[in-house]
Structures are given as C-alpha cells and as structure tokens.
C-alpha cells in the first residue's frame, strides 16, 4: 500500500481554485501553524525528517533553523526554476494544485519569522505562472497572504518572479542574483544564503515540492510523517520518469521503493523487446546506473551508496537501442550551453569534453583520449563556485568508466571504416 500525499486527487476538477482546495481541507494546516509558536512549527518539520526535494537533500527543518533570529529583513525564496533535464514534477504540482504551494510558503515563512517571500518560476512555465498568479490573488483576497494573515499578527507578502531561460538560475545563489535583476552568476560561498542571501539579508530557499509537503506534515505531525519512507529518507517523493519507458509521467512513491518497481511496474519499462541499458536516477546530473542496479531502493542513502544521487528525483531511462556516445554528447552539450562562464574549469571543461566526444564520434580519437577526458572530469569536480561543472563531470565520468568498451569499440569501428574507405 503506497501513500499518496501530493498527487492525491491531483486531477480533481477545479483543484487549482481556492473553493475546491478549501473544500478538501486546504489552509487548515496554516490555521493550525498560526496557532503554534514559530519554533514549534520548525520543530515539527525537523521531526518529520523531510529532506529538500530540489536536489541536495538537505534536512528542511535544520535549514530553517539556520536563519538568525531577530527583526532584520529576512526572505523566503521558493525555487520553482525546475530546469534539471528529466524533471517535471514541480510543473505538474504547481499547475494542478497551486494553493498547496502557497500554503507551504506561508507555513515555512511563519516558522522562520519571514515577512517577504518570492516564488522564482522558470520563464518557460508561463501557463503555470498564470495559474499561480491567479491563485495568489485568490489567497490574498481570502486573507491567506498579506497583512495579518487569518487574524494573526503574522504578515507575509508573496511575489511571483518569472525567470527568462537559464539553467544556472536553479542554483540557489545564481537564482538570488537573477532575482536581484542581474545575470544569474553563482556566488562564492560562504557566506551561505541563510546568513547573507537576497538583498544581503538572511534567506531561506526551498524547492516547490519541499514546501508543498509542509501542510501535510503540519496536518499529521512530524513524527507521523517520519514513519513513511526509508531510514534517513522520510516520506514520499514525486518521481518524474521519462525516456524509454512506456508510461512516462510523475509517480509518487514512498522513498525506499525498489527502483525496478518505479521503472517497470509504474512507468511500464522500456518498449517491448528492449532492455534498460542505463538510467539516470536523479536528473541528467547524476552518475548513471545500469540494468544491474535496478534493485537499488530509491532513496537518498541507497543511491549515494551506489555512487550516484537522488537529485531532483528524475529517472531518465535509456534502452539498448541508443549508443552511450549519443547520450554523453547530448548531456555534455547541455552543460556547455548552460555554463555561466564564470569559473574556468567549468567553462573550459564542458567545452573540451564536447570536443573530445565529437572526436570520438568522427573517429579521430584514440583510446588515450578517454583517459584525458576522464581526467578533465576529475579536474572540474570541486573546483568551481557551483556544481554545474560537476553536474556534467559526474555523469560523463560514470559513462566512461561503465561503458568504456563501447566507446573503444566505436572508435575502432570508425577507424576500420576509414581504412576500408
């Protein structure tokens, strides 16, 4: 029996409207939160064991507790930039149930003593932005956001901010610069945003799904939520499954569900007659796994133990009809395009990786190039302000080490073809 929290009745007609959301018990958790002490709200989130759903998996309660106390201007930023290739969970959640996000934003802001919130949504999500804007207007006129929310002393202003097409703005400090009206270049850390973020003020940044889970945690209590899922990976996760599967889509599973069950039982597995060749467990930034890894439980720690990561919770399946070189080239080109250009290892490393992969494709490369390419990946990791370069280096490095024979066979066959010609 699986528990469905975020996707429950997600297709109910009118769920995006306040009337239907309220009828389903919406904003009751906010009412409950406002009757509690802010520290008690954070304690519930902490007790739930909820880990950030955006990619890093940082404990949400602890993140909130990092914010300094006091009366300075503090900000909450909801990261709705969802740009990790393969990820489309926040899109469906915001589009179909925007009030749950707004309720989560207000609860999180109340807990951390924040009076200004921003939702940074990627520019391409225009339809979702319109839906959120309409929901914000409804929530404002119903008194769920704005001055003295639901008769309490707590006030919160929420502004929806649309990006304009840049993957790097999903990186939290790139996002902050973009929200300040600048190019979205990541910042040097520390200082971390919790101390010095938006407009130099303490800033709490959470992913859409993380915030949308908070109303449920308040409803049932942190201890109850913590019973769901796997050790150190509490709760449910909306997993975006795409690529070579028969039923691509978002599936909500308890963390710890075997990966095979998600890919085969829910998403239908690869087309008949084909097999899983490789899969990305957490978006295109995660090191790839193979068919042999399908029984790994889908949770933060099990995937980390397998040398990869849960990331944004996006499974991309590639079947045996596709050469690994095509996948590597596609991934590397994406990161080359999206590198902001600030740090040399990333700017040059992504560029040279693409060039070397192209050499392999055209048959100009030698097996030594694979080693050079692997060493380029190692030199990117950990040497930049943000992890965009790492996000290319990790999957490319894993493809070279797991599919080295296929790369070499491709090079050899190209060279033999040239000799024959």
């Amino acid at each position: 029996m699986s528990t469905t929290i975020l996707l429950r009745d997600i297709d109910e007609p009118g769920l995006a409207t306040l009337a239907v959301y309220e009828r389903r018990g919406g904003y009751a958790s906010l009412r409950k939160a406002l009757s509690m002490e802010p520290a008690a709200v954070v304690a519930e989130i902490d007790a739930s064991g909820l880990r950030g759903r955006g990619g890093a998996g940082f404990p949400a309660g602890r993140k909130s507790a990092f914010l300094p106390k006091g009366n300075m201007d503090k900000y909450l930023v909801c990261n709705a930039d969802e740009s990790e290739p393969g990820t489309f969970k926040d899109r469906e959640l915001m589009q179909k149930c925007p009030h749950m996000l707004i309720e989560g934003v207000v609860i999180a802001a109340f807990g951390a003593g924040i009076s200004r919130a921003f939702i940074y949504i990627r520019g391409e999500y225009e339809a979702q932005a319109r839906i959120l804007d309409a929901a914000l207007a409804e929530a404002r006129s119903a008194g769920y956001i704005g001055e003295r929310i639901m008769g309490s002393d707590f006030s919160l202003d929420v502004v929806l901010h649309r990006g304009a097409g840049a993957y790097i703005c999903g990186e939290e400090t790139g996002l902050l610069d973009s929200l300040e009206g600048k190019r979205g270049n990541p910042r040097l850390k520390p200082p971390f945003p919790a101390l010095q973020g938006l407009y130099q003020g303490p800033t709490l940044i959470n992913n859409v799904e993380t915030l949308m889970t908070m109303p449920y945690i308040l409803e049932v209590g942190g201890a109850e939520y913590a019973k769901l899922g796997a050790p150190n990976s509490a709760g449910t996760k909306v997993v975006s499954v795409s690529g070579h599967v028969q039923r691509p889509g978002n599936y909500e599973v308890e963390l710890g569900t075997p990966s095979r069950q998600i890919i085969y039982d829910l998403a239908g597995g690869p087309p008949v007659g084909r097999r899983v060749k490789l899969w990305f467990p957490g978006g295109s930034s995660s090191p790839v796994l193979t068919e042999a890894d399908l029984d790994i439980p889908y949770d933060f720690d099990s995937l980390a133990k397998a040398g990869t990561m849960l990331g944004s919770g996006a499974i991309i399946v590639v079947d045996n009809s596709t050469p690994v070189l095509d996948v590597a080239l596609k991934v590397a080109k994406f990161y080359r395009h999206e590198s902001c250009g600030k740090c040399t290892p990333c700017r040059e490393g992504t560029n040279w990786t693409v060039r070397m992969l192209e050499r392999i494709e055209t048959g100009e490369a030698t097996p030594m190039d694979l080693d050079i390419m692997a060493s380029v990946q190692e030199r990117i990791i950990g040497n930049c302000l943000c992890v965009l370069g790492d996000a290319m280096a990790m999957p490319i490095g894993s493809m070279i080490s797991k599919f080295r024979e296929e790369f070499e066979a491709h090079m050899l066959s190209r060279q033999l073809a040239d000799v024959a010609a």
């Binding site: 009745d9 391409e124 304009a164 929200l179 975006s240 998403a267 596709t322 996948v327 596609k330 395009h337």
Partner: protein, 206 residues
Amino acid sequence: MSPVRRYEHGSRVPGWDSAADLDKAPAAVPDPALVDVPADLRAEIEAAMARYPERRSAALPALRAAQDRYGWCSPEAIEQVACVMRLTPAYLASVATFYDMFELEPAGRHSVYVCTNITCSLRGADDLFTAIEEAAQGDADINVRSFECLGACDIAPMVSVDNVYYGPLELADAGRLIDDLRSGREPLPELALALRRSADPNAASA
C-alpha cells in the same frame, strides 16, 4: 588571426570573440527628456519595480515587457527600459544576453521552442526539430528554435508554441503545427499539456 569560435551554441558568454570598441564613449543612463517611452510600457515597468524592495529586481519583467511590445530586445527597447529603470543600456544588455528567452535579433511573432534535450531526443526530437524548421522555412513570422529541457519530458518529444506546451508530437505533426500557426488556429489543440492527466494510478480521482 581568425577568431576561435568557442561558443557557437547560443552561449552565455557572448561577445567572447568580438573586439571591444575602446574609442566608443560609454552610454549613460538615458535622459528622460530625450527618450520617448510609451505610457503603457512605462506603467508596466514601474509597476514591476514597485513589487520589489530594490527596483533593479524588475530587470527581467521589464525586459520581457519591452520584448513583448517590440518583438525583440532592440537597442531602442533596451534604451526605453534603461530610461524608466534608471540603469545604463549596457547593464540591461548584459542581462538580456544571459537569458535564452530574450531575443537579441529581430524575431518572428510566434515562438516555437523545440526541446532537444536528452529525454526528448531519445524520443525523436532531433528529427522533429529539423522537420519543423523545414516546414517553417522562409516564414519570418515564425521563430523556430531548439531549446534545452523545457520540463515536460512526460510528453516528449514536445514543443512550446508561444509558451504553451504541446506533446507528444509525431514527425508528421510538424507540417500541421506550422499550418495551424499560419492560419491563426491553436496548433495541435488535442496535444495540449493542459489536457493531460496524471500518470500515477494512485492519483486517480473521479
């Protein structure tokens, strides 16, 4: 010496290869008395500035408003935004060149973004992009671009037409998509993302 082409694929580091004109005087913040800004555009930009603690935060919404009006971020459009926001045109140009959704050259009225990232490409997006490009060839009204992941891998391969998502497309849909756009109809209405229901069997509701 010929320049080294490093960033041919729509880079965030534009101008890398072009020499700077060191003799050119830097453009200052435009003088409001000399720049004519349409009243509604000015009002939209000012309203955006009022939403934030710092007015500079309105750079993206302001540039978007100007682009919606003029079709692209022309030097005149950027100057008008700079005039209202009290920033230099160079600053706003640096921002506009960073983001993929700002057009830095005159562009067609209709935007067709074809996702060619990993999932869509696994499901045939590269051929689809070529087919759509061919179908729209020579039509200055239609701006076909290949785009990075648009966050709709469940409907791969997909397109975003004037920022509305459609998918999954067959290769044969390319011609119909462009025909629909030319004749002012909603393109491929039955493939609109808005119609799609959740794939999760446990999410089902009546």
